[in-house]
């Protein structure tokens, strides 16, 4: 069963702007799926249509095989959405906001109270339950939004840039939490500007640009398309000059940090050997961040060039 199935979805705003030009998208149940794209690409419009915040011009959307037009109520029961911006009454108490959301889904008072407590504890906002939401930090408000989206135990959770503007600690704890609920069976669709986030969390990915899906594949497959990859080597001892004829494009960023670009087909073994023979010892090695970013930029640029033609 598909958690989400979109076919030929179009959205034309008043004034003629075509935000979605007939997109097709399928997300498997249990998947952790990334929907990426530059600003104005159509990500939020797509999410808006799925969650009934945007009226589609044409096309079909199914949530767990339920058409949102034919059985709106049942489809919505299975959905949880974390919007891009804070969308709750900030003058209300945190606990009330989350319990009320459960009430809108028709949960009993007891279920609402239990679910709200469970997710507030999970997201470390239980001690804030009696505070007015406006007094919370930006990161805490994000947690409230996630708890609110989960309080009806949705089978499909959509998060529109959930970690935008939050600190690293919170981002990482949110990543762990999302991974946990995904492992428990919740399908997650994530849009983010942090490509590192998508790379770390998501198994499959679609890239949307100018209202069209320009790529839809697995994260693994997409990353293997990299023509070259950049690694950072942390050196044990400071080095002033690099040995000649390394055979790789290498830059000494500082005396203890070496950046090496390895082309497709080139192995890592040789670089270790060359460095070792030159008396350079490596203490650690890591991927330079931005692998997905490079691909993303390539795909979006090629789409842009194509549309200009």
């Amino acid at each position: 069963m598909k958690a989400l199935s979109i076919s030929n979805l179009k959205k034309e705003y008043t004034g003629g702007l075509q935000a979605l030009k007939g997109i097709d998208l399928e997300v498997n149940q249990g998947d952790f799926f990334a929907l990426l794209g530059p600003n104005g690409a159509g990500k939020s419009t797509t999410i808006g249509v799925i969650s009934s915040l945007v009226t589609k011009t044409s096309g079909q959307v199914k949530i767990l095989d339920i058409d949102i037009d034919e059985n709106h109520s049942l489809a919505k029961k299975k959905l949880g959405v974390v919007g891009q911006e804070v969308n709750f009454n900030q003058f209300e108490k945190v606990g009330d906001i989350i319990r009320n959301q459960a009430g809108y889904h028709g949960l009993s008072f007891k279920e609402a109270r239990e679910n709200a407590k469970y997710y507030m504890q999970k997201l470390d906002i239980w001690d804030k339950r009696n505070e007015q939401a406006r007094k919370l930090s930006g990161g805490m408000k994000r947690r409230v939004m996630v708890a609110k989206a989960l309080v009806n135990n949705p089978e499909l959770l959509i998060l529109d840039e959930p970690t935008a503007g939050v600190d690293i600690e919170l981002r990482r704890s949110l990543w762990d939490f999302l991974t946990e609920i995904n492992n428990e069976g919740t399908t997650i669709i994530l849009t983010t500007h942090y490509l590192e986030e998508a790379e770390r969390l998501c198994r499959n990915i679609a890239i949307i640009d100018s209202g069209e899906i320009v790529e839809n594949t697995s994260m693994q497959e997409l990353l293997t398309r990299l023509e070259e990859e950049t690694f950072i080597f942390d050196l044990k001892n400071p080095v002033k000059v690099l040995p000649k004829n390394l055979g790789y494009e290498a830059v000494l960023e500082n005396p203890q940090k070496l950046k090496v670009t390895i082309g497709k087909g080139q192995g890592l073994n040789t670089i270790f050997e060359v460095l070792s023979n030159s008396g350079i010892q490596i203490s650690s090695m890591r991927n330079d961040t931005g692998r997905l970013e490079e691909l993303f930029m390539g795909l979006v640029d090629s789409n842009l060039n194509g549309s200009e033609r």
């Binding site: 969650s51 009934s52 915040l53 919007g83 009320n100 809108y104 028709g106 009993s108 008072f109 609110k148």
Partner: protein, 262 residues
Amino acid sequence: MTPLEQYRALLTILYKEIHRFMRIWTQTLIPPAVMIMLYFVIFGTLIGKRIGQMGGFDYMQFMIPGLIMMSVISNSYSNVVSSFFGQKFARSIEELLITPLPHYLILLGWVLGGVARGLLVGGIVTLVSLWFYDLSISNWTLSIFVVISTSILFSLGGFLNALFAESFDDISIIPTFIMQPLIYLGGVFYSIQLLPSFWQTVSLANPILYMINAFRYSILGASDLEALGFSINSAIFMIIAFIILFASICLWFLHKGRGIRT
């Protein structure tokens, strides 16, 4: 959603609405009481004595049903328009739109919230009135029916206004420039029988006149309507017809997503 789930969802909206206006009771409940008290002191006690009888009743006795109705109308309207527009403005309306709630339940929840505030303020104003005048009610059933149905109608009006409003200015234009004149010219403070024939005919085009007079009839047992050849039934029919019309328009625009979806 099952009927039980719909009932729970409706209670949630209603609870939230009541909680909202109770939380800000100094803005929602106290001002109408103070304003009505001033009306009684100035128009009832001070000026009323000089006016004497109005429509066959003491001036204060004549004024009380109109003042109660005025409070119910304006509070039902303002509760819904400010609450729903506030939710639109803060985008918290999205909380509801992403849930399985059917449109009629959203509308019903807000209307019941408006009715709750209208009745509560109406009750407060009645209590204040009793302090100034020993009032007896001629027809309890009719008075309850008229006050609730009028409250429903103006809650629907507030909802419609909120759907179309795009700024806070838009939610004050209709109450200020349309509703207040219609209320004041609807016979709250005077009998339209005092007006020249032409202005009597003009006044009959004011729907609020029928509501105020139907309520006055239910309290005092007499009103301008019969004197002008209209039955109370025609006023009741008109209120019900307007409720059906406004509810249908609200549901249509909700379905279309007017003001709430892009």
